[in-house]
Structure formats: C-alpha cells, structure tokens
C-alpha cells in the first residue's frame, strides 16, 4: 500500500512543484494522476520513486517512510517498485535482451535460467523484435517504451509508477500495456499512472487525483467525481469533469 502524507517539493524555497499533497492507494488499485503540463505529476512520481528528495512530508510504502529509512531497507523497497519515466533513456550499447536480463539482475533475480525464461517471455509478450541483435539505441521510440515497460514487469512489482505510459505506443502496445496493468492489479499490485489520456484513466483507474500547480484539486473515486460534477441531466464523462475543473 502507498501512502503520501503532506508531501511537498520546492526547488527554490519559493515556488512548489508539489505542495502538501496527501493521498493513499490500496493494494490492487490504480490511481490516475491528471493535470496540465507542468502541474507537478512527474515530480510527484519521481518523489514516490525516491529519485528526488522531498522538501517535507512522507511517502510510506507498506508502512515504511522511504525518506527516513536505511539504505538496505530502501534497496529492498526499491526492488518492489517499477518506474517508467516519461522520457525513456535505456542503457545504451546493450541489446534489448541484455537490457532486460541485466535489469532482472538488478531486481535481484539470481537464478539465470529463471531470468532467461522471464526475459524470453517478456520479449514475446511485448513484441520486441530482434531483441538479441539490436541495441536499445537502434529501436524506435515506441519500442523503447515497450522495452522500458517490459523491464519493470520482470520482477512482478508491487508498486508501479508510470509517467505517460502510452506516449509513443501504437494501439497494440497500448492494449498489451492495459492487459498487463489489469493483470498486475488483479494480483494485488498498487499502480499510479500520470497521463493526459483521459480515456485510459477512465478505463483503468479506481481513483483519480487531479492536481494543478502542485496542489490537489480533486481526489477520489470515479463515482465520487461523477457525483460532484455531473451535468444537470445526470450525464458526463471524465473529459467534461476535467475541463470544468481546470477551465479547459
């Protein structure tokens, strides 16, 4: 379970990229993080993934504060986290297969036979062509994204953090991703995704968090959102709620 308590991040002690945000995501739930460009979504995900240090507040993963724990415990926590950044920068000069293999090793999978079979399975599932021949830098941005997503699936993560996961993906890639996320959710994983694709959020998310300039505008379930923002005739979708809320 992920719990965020009064989390803030400021780069210059004047303006805040994330300002006093609090929310929680249960195991087996998907939280969609929505907001304009520059609203603080990526910063939020980078804070939760411990890539950035918070200015104040707490991020609790399974009850452990990631900013206050020892390196050994944090290492164990990070093995449960899978993070796909918006801009995919894979380790260059490795083939796609090697990349997945070494990321598997970083996640602590020591059994090489098991790891090999997992890598082969992911290569097949995500349609990564010429995985043993082509280096990661030779792939198109869509396939790079697939490789990046495949790499975090290798260790069955308990917490998934996805920043614009559908960017650069073709419809088949999007479908594979959605299937994977549903599967992981059913297995009890906690998923947090930042996206501009409202239809993806609508299809997948159990809870929605809308932020603007680092501050929370709405946090709750989709039903909760509908209750608050439905039209006079009782109709409406996420897009119309979002537009009304953010003045689009």
């Amino acid at each position: 379970m992920l719990q965020v308590i009064s989390l803030s991040k400021s780069y210059d002690h004047k303006t805040y990229a994330v300002n006093e945000l609090s929310f929680a995501v249960e195991n087996g739930h998907i939280l969609a993080l929505l907001g304009h460009n520059g609203a603080g979504k990526s910063t939020m995900l980078r804070l939760v993934s411990t890539m950035l240090q918070a200015s104040s507040g707490q991020v609790l993963i399974d009850g452990i504060d990631v900013f206050g724990t020892e390196a050994d415990q944090l290492r164990e926590i990070k093995r449960k986290i899978g993070f796909v950044p918006e801009t995919v920068n894979l380790l260059e000069y490795l083939t796609a297969w090697e990349y997945l293999f070494y990321i598997g090793q970083m996640y602590g999978i020591e059994d090489e036979t098991l790891l090999t079979s997992k890598v082969n399975e992911l290569v097949e599932r995500f349609g990564i062509t010429e995985a043993r021949e082509k280096t990661t830098s030779d792939y198109s941005s869509g396939l790079k994204k697939r490789i990046s997503i495949a790499s975090i699936m290798i260790n069955q993560p308990r917490l998934l953090l996805l920043d614009e996961p559908t960017a650069h993906l073709d419809p088949i890639g999007v479908k594979t991703l959605k299937d994977c996320l549903r599967e992981l959710r059913s297995e009890g994983a906690t998923i947090m995704l930042a996206t501009h694709q409202l239809d993806i959020a609508e299809q997948l998310a159990d809870e929605i968090l809308i932020i603007n300039e680092g501050q929370q505008l709405f946090y709750g379930t989709q039903d909760h959102l509908r209750e608050h923002f439905q039209d006079s005739d009782g109709q409406g979708n996420l897009e119309s709620f979002y537009s009304r809320l953010l003045g689009g």
Binding site: M51, R75, M106
Partner: protein, 545 residues
C-alpha cells in the same frame, strides 16, 4: 571501505561493456559480439599489451645496441623529475576526476539510474569505483610506460621492475585519490554552480603560478647558465621525499620484507583514502541531490553554462581523449585504402611546402607547439559538437538561428582554446631555457592568433556539420567523413605552418614568399573544402557518421 553493493558492481560491469562496445574493435567487428566477460578480459589484455609494447620495444632497442639510447639516458638522468612530475600529474588527474564526479551528478543520467532498483548508496559506490578505473587507466596508459622504462633503464631486473611499477602504481593511485578527495572536500561546501569553476581556477592558477615561480626562482636565485633547465629541475625534485625514496631504492635495492611492508603501507593509504572518498562523495551527492532541479531550470542553466561544460570536458582527461580521437581518425583512414593513399600524398605535399626554398623546419619544437595547439583545440571541438548535438533543448535555447549558433560557437571555441592552451604556454614560458623572457612572452600573441584562426576554422567547420535541417539531431554518435577529416587536418597544418613561419621571421621583421604562399594556400583549401562539402551534401557526409 564497505563491500560495494551488487548493483554498483553490475553498473560498473555494464559501463565497461559500454566502453568496449563504443571502442574501435567493436566498430570493426560488430559491437554486440562482446559480452561483459569478454569486455573485462579485453580491457585487461589491452592494458597489458599497451604496457608491454611501450616497454618491450624500447627495451629491445636498448639490448640491440648494447647501451642506453637517448630515451634511456634521459630517463635515468631525470628520474627525480619523472617520478615527482608523475605524482603532480596524478594529483591533477584526481582533481579533475573529482570535478567530473560533481559534473556527472549535476547533469548526467544519474536520475535515470535512480529509476532502476538502485539507491543512492549504490550510485555513490558505482561512481567511486568508476573513479578508481579512471585513475588506474590514466596510470596504465600514460604514466606506467615511462616508469617501466625508467626502472629498466636504471638497470633493474624485470622482476624488480614489475615490483617497483606495482609499488609506484599503488602510491600514485593514492595521490590520485588525494586529488579527488581534495576537490570533493572543497566542492561539497560550496554551491553547486561553483564546483566546475573551482577546478578550473585551481588548475589555471596553480599551473600558471608554477610556471612563473620556476622562472623567477631559476632566474633570480639559481642563475646558472651551465646547467639545463631539465638538469636543474631534476636536482630540485631530488629533495622531495617521494623521489628521494625511489632514489634510495635505486642506490640500495630493498629486500622482500621492506618491499612488502611499503606495499602494505601504500595499500592502507589507498584504503583510507577510498573510505574518505566514499564518505565525502556521499555528502556532496546528498547536497546536490537535494538541490536537484526540474528539467526546464536545468536546460536554462545548461545553456548559460554551455561554455563552461565544454571547457570541463576538454580539461578533464585531456590526454586520454586525444589518444582516443587519434585512434579513431587512424582507423577511419585504415578502413579506406584510397583515403590512405590520399593522406600520404597530402602529407608529402605538406612536407614539400614546409621545406620549400630550403626553408626547412628550423625549430621542430616550435613547429610541434603550433601544430599541437591547432590540432588539440580543433579536433576536440569537432568531437564535442557531436555530444552537444544530442542535447536538442540546449541548442534550441542557445541558438534559434544559424547566426546565433555561430556567434555562440565562436565565443565558446575561443574561450576554451585559451583555457586549454594558456597553462601550457605558462609552463613553456617557465621552463624555456634558451629563450629570453621577453622573447617568450612575445610569442604569445602569435600563438593566440594561431588559435583564433583555428577557432574561426572550427566555427565554420562545426556550422557545416550543424545541419540546420529537420533531422539534424538524429544521430547520437557523430563521426567525421574522412575527406572532411583530411581537409580539416590539412587546414590545421597550414594554419600552424603560417604562424610558425611568421614566428621565425619576426625577429628579422621579414615576411618571406613562403608566408604569402601559405596565405594563398589557406584560402584555396578553405574555398575548395567548402565546395567539397556543398558538392557531397550533408546527407552523404552523415552516412559516415
């Protein structure tokens, strides 16, 4: 030092693999042939072959002729200077590696690495191990051949030479770590922006002061005309402890016990410094990480500090970069036999032009000085352009137009040229034994002009490659078309020849026909190469990249 975490070791292995796959062999045989194991073996074998070749060939020459050659004699005569000079150099290498660590933290892919199951402690260990590798490779590739030869020339057996080289490696490694620690200790207390500046300031000021101090001391207190500057420097260096220790070993070879004890002491020193390095680096890391910016702020800063970043790239690992670049250029030529013939014809032409009307290269050292100034500045810059092109945001912010790009490029080229060459000239002035101070100072404007002209050329050259078209940032690793490279080298040589001739003629206030011919030749080459580039078209050039 605690045991490095598993992921830190894995990252180091992947870095080694990446190094090999970027290398010349991988370009020839296909990069993915090499696994991590073969990459490690290849690195070790390359290092051993390098040390072996650089030591064995002169050694065979020594034994063939039965007496020490010029190199051997010089090494024996100036061994204090070599050992202490190597120690000073290693300290500077450490200093720049320390700066490199901070630089890496500020702008590199660390953030990306942290998106993997890696914690900061792993990253710190990885970067520190990376420091070890860099210091060791610098020792192996630059210093070790000289120390090997020196001990052999001093008459040591092969076994003792190897033993002494190991001891020297450990001690100089400690000196390198000391340099890295010195920089990190300063940097961690200062704001992030200052860290690059500190390193450059330390380097420029200390080297400049070193040159001036030697000059004043020699002129003011020493004042002997009978002893060369090298003999004098060696004598001065002999009083310093590190050199004296080696001297004692030379005069009274140690027993195994003494040797093992000193090796253990050196090892302890390295361990201690490593521990300090990890701790200090960790603190510096935390400080920088807490100040981490968002992308927009980072790009703005990068644009503002672009010249500084380039400067750092040049100053750090300068000898290694030049070695790599030379190898890359040579391989590019060797792979194309026709180009090799062209290169040969070109060199013959240059030699002929240099010796035209018996105006032979009268002062080879001066000629080398001009050529190397031009080559180092220009060649490194062409390489940097390739890296810079990857950062599309920086370029866009810095140069919305061609004129903006050219203007920025000219400023950067000139600034970096000065920063790279001024310490070099400073030492030259300090160590010049044969020239009067005034005469040496008078040479500076000429060298400066040489660099300005080379800078203008590089500006033009980089603009040619800048390709202000839609797909200009597609290629990650930017290479050079062999024709362009030949023209580039040739033009550099002509620039150097021009100033060299001008320098020689200046005392007599003469500008001979040779100089006029060179001016014409430069104009022709510039016009011809522009035409060649236009004719070949940018896209054809890109195919070779």
């Amino acid at each position: 030092m605690s045991k490095p975490p598993h992921n830190a070791l894995l990252l180091l292995k992947l870095q080694l693999l990446s190094g090999v796959r970027k290398g010349v062999l991988a370009r020839l045989f296909g990069g993915t042939l090499f696994s991590t194991k073969t990459a490690i073996i290849l690195k070790i074998v390359t290092a051993l072959v390098w040390v072996g070749v650089t030591c064995v060939i002169p050694l065979l020459t020594l034994s063939d002729f039965g007496e020490a050659t010029q190199i051997g004699q010089s090494l024996v005569r100036y061994h204090h200077l070599i050992i202490n000079g190597a120690a000073i150099l290693m300290f500077y290498v450490g200093l720049f590696i320390g700066a490199n660590l901070i630089y890496e933290l500020a702008i590199s892919e660390n953030e990306q690495l942290l998106s993997y199951p890696i914690v900061m402690e792993d990253l710190v260990h990885f970067r520190v191990m990376d420091v070890y590798m860099t210091i060791l490779s610098f020792y192996l590739y630059v210093i070790c051949p000289f120390t090997c030869l020196m001990f052999l020339a001093l008459g040591w057996s092969t076994v003792w030479t190897v033993a002494m080289v190991i001891l020297t490696a450990v001690l100089l490694f400690a000196v390198g770590l000391l340099g890295a620690n010195a920089f990190l200790s300063i940097a961690k207390r200062l704001p992030r922006r200052g860290s690059d500046g500190i390193c450059i300031t330390i380097f420029l000021v200390s080297v400049g002061l070193f040159g001036i101090a030697i000059r004043l001391y020699k002129d003011g207190f020493f004042g002997s005309a009978t002893m060369s500057i090298w003999q004098w420097s060696d004598l001065q260096m002999s009083v310093v402890s590190f050199s004296s220790m080696m001297d004692n070993i030379v005069s009274r070879p140690w027993g195994i016990g003494q040797y093992a004890l000193s090796l253990a002491a050196g090892g302890m020193l390295v361990m201690f410094l490593s521990k300090v390095c990890v701790r200090t680096f960790g603190q510096a890391f935390d400080r920088i990480h807490l100040q981490a910016d968002d992308m927009t702020a980072r790009v703005k800063r990068s644009a503002a500090w672009l010249s500084f970043m380039n400067l750092n790239r040049l100053l750090r690992f300068l000898p290694l970069d030049i070695r790599t670049l030379l190898v890359k250029d040579i391989v590019a030529l060797v792979r194309r036999p026709r180009m090799l013939v062209n290169a040969f014809v070109f060199v013959v032409f240059l030699v002929l032009i240099a010796n035209w009307r018996h105006a032979a290269v009268a002062d080879p050292m001066l000629f080398v000085l001009y050529c190397s100034s031009t080559f180092i500045v220009s060649r490194l810059f062409v390489n940097i352009i390739g890296q810079e092109r990857n950062n599309i945001l920086v370029i866009k912010q810095l140069a919305p137009s061609i004129s903006g790009y050219l203007s920025a490029r000219a400023k950067i080229t000139f600034g970096v040229s000065l920063a790279v060459l001024l310490p070099f000239w400073g030492v030259l002035i300090g160590l010049s034994a044969d020239l009067a101070l005034l005469e040496t100072v008078w040479r500076l404007p000429l060298l400066l002009l040489n660099v300005i002209l080379a800078s203008i050329f590089v500006t033009w050259y980089s603009a040619t490659f800048a390709e202000f078209s839609t797909d200009r940032f597609k290629k990650q690793d930017f290479g050079i078309h062999p024709v362009a490279m030949l023209v580039f080298w040739g033009f550099g040589m002509l620039v150097s020849l021009f100033f060299y001739k001008l320098d020689l003629a200046l005392p007599a206030h003469e500008v001979d026909e040779m100089t006029i011919l060179l001016i014409v030749a430069m104009g022709v080459v510039l016009a011809a190469s522009t035409a060649i580039f236009r004719f070949l078209g940018i896209r054809r050039i890109k195919r070779y990249a």
